[in-house]
Symmetry: C2
Subunit: 655 residues, 2 copies
């Protein structure tokens, strides 16, 4: 029996074991202190690390273009973030095609499927396995480890992975590579044929029976109420030491507070894998913590799009859509004045949906999600927005990888934001010079989980009552029953960034009359909201119909299955106008809500609006986009679209 | 003689030569096409790359902690930027202490001295050599190569570097490492003792005589009007082939449009050094251009602070100041509520002064530089600012490494900004959660090169006439003659971000009376500008004196040697107030200029101001800073500082 004073304190030594079970070897760990004595010698053994095994390994690198298999168990929002940093570090150093076998719950699968689809990394194949199906196989084991059932899932990998798969590297989500994973793969080859033979025998004997037997036997004799995967592995190893091969310590440098790993890496300049196995993670106290932290931060902030590079000298292994995309990009003319617009439109941004833990709203027939998008310079709006809108939100954030970490810190340190679990944040990673406003809106819209959406912008604060009022209005107006309607929320603006937000329509009207508030863009762009008919709204007691007119761009509440925004509009201009045309073309009624309002706060003009104003080329490109949009509209709606073209031409004559 | 149809077209082959001249070997290149036939075989030779020489080399890595010497010739603003990306790539992979020998002109030295001093990378020693002193030695050589005389300086490295230096790696600024530079260093050891012996002989024979002889002989026989260093090296090599050792091609993968290098790296998965030797740089057309570009972009955008990590197992080699800094940081209490403030105050930000080419203003006795600081979200102010202020500017930008590249692109694509050579941009790299406003101001202030400075903020647009008016006022008021004065520029604000900027004081007063303009922060923070006495200003025809009062924070013009800003004030609040107190304590007179004005444009509240408003802790920390500032003030100015403390206490009683 193992020394087992603390069920989870399993010893640095254990971390250094290479478990050549059916699927290969495992990197795992717990707090050190107790461990397998047999393996402990490998831990502190300076020879193991001093003999520069790396160089020996490198000459045994796997054949060029050999596919390496990696399995990772990943569940939930936070692990999904962790796993991305791990994958970035692997991709950064890798030179081989990779096959990732991801055992995930529904949440992680949703996130990672979107991410890898939009990441488009060549020579990476992803396969998902439903962790839910594995639960029954292991749920009989009492278990209180923080990773819960998912920790135990490594035990059943042999049965869940395809039989054709002979070898796989199994990784925890909290490791960072500082070397080519192919070097780890070579360790398979490093073992003698005898050990590999044993493996084959093992496979025939049946690993599954072996571990369940051990687990049951352990449960009989132990007073502990739970087992983690590590406990079971240890028990199997104890009985079958021939299954174990020590992994050189550089392949699992663990960073607990009192780790002995220093004895390994102090002598070994060539660290291979860092294991953040302390619950304190990056805040761990360790002599060389800064070194490891910087390595980890390197990949946390690393721009993932740079990892889209192809492998040299291996057959093209482009992900779905990548080839068409490359062709489309290659056809663009770099000298054309609107090249930047064309390129931006074609750009596939990596998307990390639900970047933070999120509680989906319970299904309610009239519920409505606020949808908006922002970049780093609008983060300070989030708290106010949370105070004004108590319902669910779906927000797309346009950030770099490094900014996503700043955003994480911002939410974690904000009591207001961290208290809200019904706000879903979707990161769309920055790429290219123009703000892809409509692509962002579409991401946020696609992730809204309620039947209705309020399509807002980040600089607007809704009336405190708006969430309740909208749900009541949706119910009253019976929007559910296939009635295609867009409910218009009238918008206002203030020029003062400190002002008393009106608590009612009456208060709002007082401020309006006093000149403290204005109709949104009344002076600069009156046609944008003129059809809303603010004079009517002042007096209105009930929702009223309004008609579309040129350049109308109200903020509306619609059913979630509404048309998407046209992604060709990037940067400043016409992005909402085109969407409203689309609604009108699809015969949505426009109904103005008499008690609804939202107020725009002041901000400096965006870079894009500045460029629009200062650059004739920019304006010319926007004009070209408008025309192409109208051509498409005619194609799709025929004669019905004529009125939009006429309106466009009239407005150009006026201008 | 070499084939020499085009003086600069010297052949891919040449790039692959390892020149074991006295100082070591060179990585250099020109457009390929012609080359040394003798070496050409090494270029296409697939064996050279196929035999996985890397693994062989790795086992010969230099002894742990051996100091590696690197020499780089670097001149001017653009090369100074390039060299940093090169150094980042070297630091990322290096495991040894480094000694950088930088041969620089005054511009590059000024930039790189500041950068390395603030970068504080452990185990990196920097030594500068004055390129100016070397000019006479080579200026007799006619030379039209784009790198000019600086290209030729590699020839004289042997005589300029210390005699005690036996080996050095010489790098062009346009290379990117993708491997540990120690592997390159091992190539020295790789050669037989015989070759090393030849080296010693060479040193005795005298390299200098050798190359000058060759150069003169070339000039006699060639019709070309110029020689580049490469031409001379080739001539020497032709005569002394024993000096040459081929460098495996992976160590110099060149990226010209029609490069043959593909034959090398297509087979070699382990690239070592990428050489951006095409004038098209990153836009080069090349089968694997994207791969190389991504590697390069990795280091362009890499957060340099992560490279401050210490080496393992080598004696501590901290740069000046780093140890005290570490101790000071270690003494901070992480649990203390103002920990973030304390940490931010101590942070040493990397500083890249004059990030873009800059023409220093000619010396003029009454000239004045506009000084301001900004971050990414205020870039759009720069064009307007350039239109309003025709004089020199010194601007500190708080950016990440990646944002600095976006900024570069922004300036390059702006006709307004790229036309201005009298605006100096200084990058202060982001680190920590609070905006280090006063540290930024001090960087911009320290780099102002005129006798006077206008201490402004980025959200203000000065009157069109202000630059001329200030110079005239400085002359009239005879500020030059040791008169300690601060000229106050009255400030106003508009709430509209499109408005007609007044062309005169009269127009400004009309707008003020019409309510389109306001006295700056008149409603929110009247005490900030009350002492300026705007009523008096309306009527004033001549400069008038005003007295300091609590919370006064005017925008002023002062001599460049004015007191620095107190760096303890980070984030929002009191940063200018403290500076004005300092001026008053040093008995500066405050003189309001009757025709001067500047107007604040609207913007969204900053993250810091939002935190100030929402967080009592934040406000408490600011209060603590104020109190400490006053204690220091009493210490320095004694009883004279009492009035500031009294004023502070009175304002607290009021609040």
């Amino acid at each position: 029996m193992l020394p087992r004073g603390r069920p989870r304190a399993l010893g640095a030594a254990t971390l250094l074991l290479l478990l050549l079970v059916v699927v290969g070897f495992f990197l795992f760990g717990r707090d050190p202190e107790y461990g397998l004595r047999a393996a402990a010698t490998f831990d502190g053994d300076p020879n193991g690390s001093r003999n520069r095994s790396a160089s020996g390994l490198q000459s045994l690198l796997p054949p060029k273009c050999e596919l390496l298999h990696v399995a990772i168990v990943c569940a939930g929002y936070n692990s999904s973030r962790e796993v991305i940093t791990l994958v970035k570090s692997v991709l950064f150093y890798r030179k081989n095609p990779l096959h990732l076998h991801l055992v995930t719950d529904a949440v992680a699968r949703n996130i990672l499927e979107t991410l890898f689809r939009t990441w488009m990394v060549p020579a990476v194949v992803i396969r998902f396995y439903d962790a839910g199906e594995l639960k029954p196989v292991i749920s009989w084991i009492p278990n209180t480890h923080y990773s819960g059932l998912y920790g135990l899932m490594k035990l059943v990998l042999p049965s869940v992975l395809p039989l054709s798969l002979a070898r796989v590297i199994v990784l925890d989500t909290d490791v960072t590579f500082s070397s080519d994973i192919a070097e780890l793969w070579t360790l398979f080859a490093h073992f003698s044929g005898v050990i590999l033979l044993w493996l084959d025998r093992l496979r025939q004997t049946g690993w599954e029976q072996m571990w369940t037997l051990m687990a049951k036997r352990q449960l009989l004799t132990l007073t502990a109420t739970s087992l983690a995967d590590q406990d079971i592995f240890n028990a199997v190893i104890k009985e079958h030491p021939e299954l174990v091969h020590p992994l050189p310590c550089v392949w699992n440098v663990q960073l607990s507070d009192h780790t002995l790993a220093e004895r390994c890496y102090l002598e070994a300049a060539d660290l291979k894998v860092i294991h953040w196995n302390s619950p304190k993670k990056l805040r761990v106290k360790n002599k060389h913590a800064e070194f490891f932290r910087n390595l980890h931060l390197t990949f946390l902030g690393y721009d993932g799009k740079l990892l889209r590079r192809e492998l040299f000298g291996c057959p093209n292994q482009l992900p779905p859509g990548a080839e068409q995309l490359q062709q489309a990009l290659a056809q663009l003319d770099e000298e054309e004045p609107c090249f930047e617009f064309r390129q931006q439109q074609l750009t596939v941004h990596r998307v990390h949906i639900t970047f933070l833990p999120h509680q989906p709203p319970p299904p309610r027939p009239h519920d409505v999600t606020l949808v908006a998008q922002l970049s780093m310079d609008r983060l300070q709006m989030l708290e106010a927005l949370c105070r004004h809108w108590s319902g669910p939100m779906s927000l797309a954030l346009y950030l770099t990888d490094a900014e996503a970490q700043q955003f994480l810190h911002f939410v974690e340190t904000s009591p207001v934001l961290s208290a809200r679990k019904d706000v879903a944040y979707h990161i769309v990673y920055r790429e290219g010079p123009l703000y892809p406003v409509n692509q962002l809106r579409n991401v946020a819209l696609a992730q809204a989980l309620t039947p209705y959406v309020f399509l807002s912008d980040i600089d607007f604060l809704p009336a405190y009552s708006l969430y309740d009022y909208l749900r009541a209005s949706i119910e009253q107006l019976e929007l559910g029953s296939r009635r295609k309607a867009a409910l218009v929320v009238p918008v206002f603006e203030t020029l003062h960034y400190r002002f008393g937000f009106p608590n009612s329509k009456a208060e709002l009207l007082t401020l309006l009359d006093a000149g403290s508030l204005h109709i949104f863009r009344y002076h600069e762009w009156p046609q944008g909201h003129a059809p809303t008919d603010y004079a009517h709204w002042r007096e209105a007691q009930a929702p009223y119909h309004v008609q579309w007119a040129a350049d109308y761009e109200p903020y509306v509440v619609v059913a979630r299955d509404c048309p998407r925004y046209d992604p060709r509009f990037v940067g400043f201009g016409w992005n909402k106008v085109a969407h409203i045309i689309e609604l009108d073309a699809q015969e949505y009624e426009f109904l103005v809500l008499p008690e609804a309002f939202s107020i725009h706060l002041p901000h400096a003009p965006s870079l894009d609006i500045s460029r629009f104003r200062s650059s004739p080329t920019y304006r010319g490109c926007l004009q070209a986009l408008k025309e192409e949009f109208h051509q498409d509209l005619s194609r799709r709606y025929g004669a019905a679209a004529l009125k939009y073209l006429t309106a466009l031409q009239q407005s150009q004559t006026r201008a």
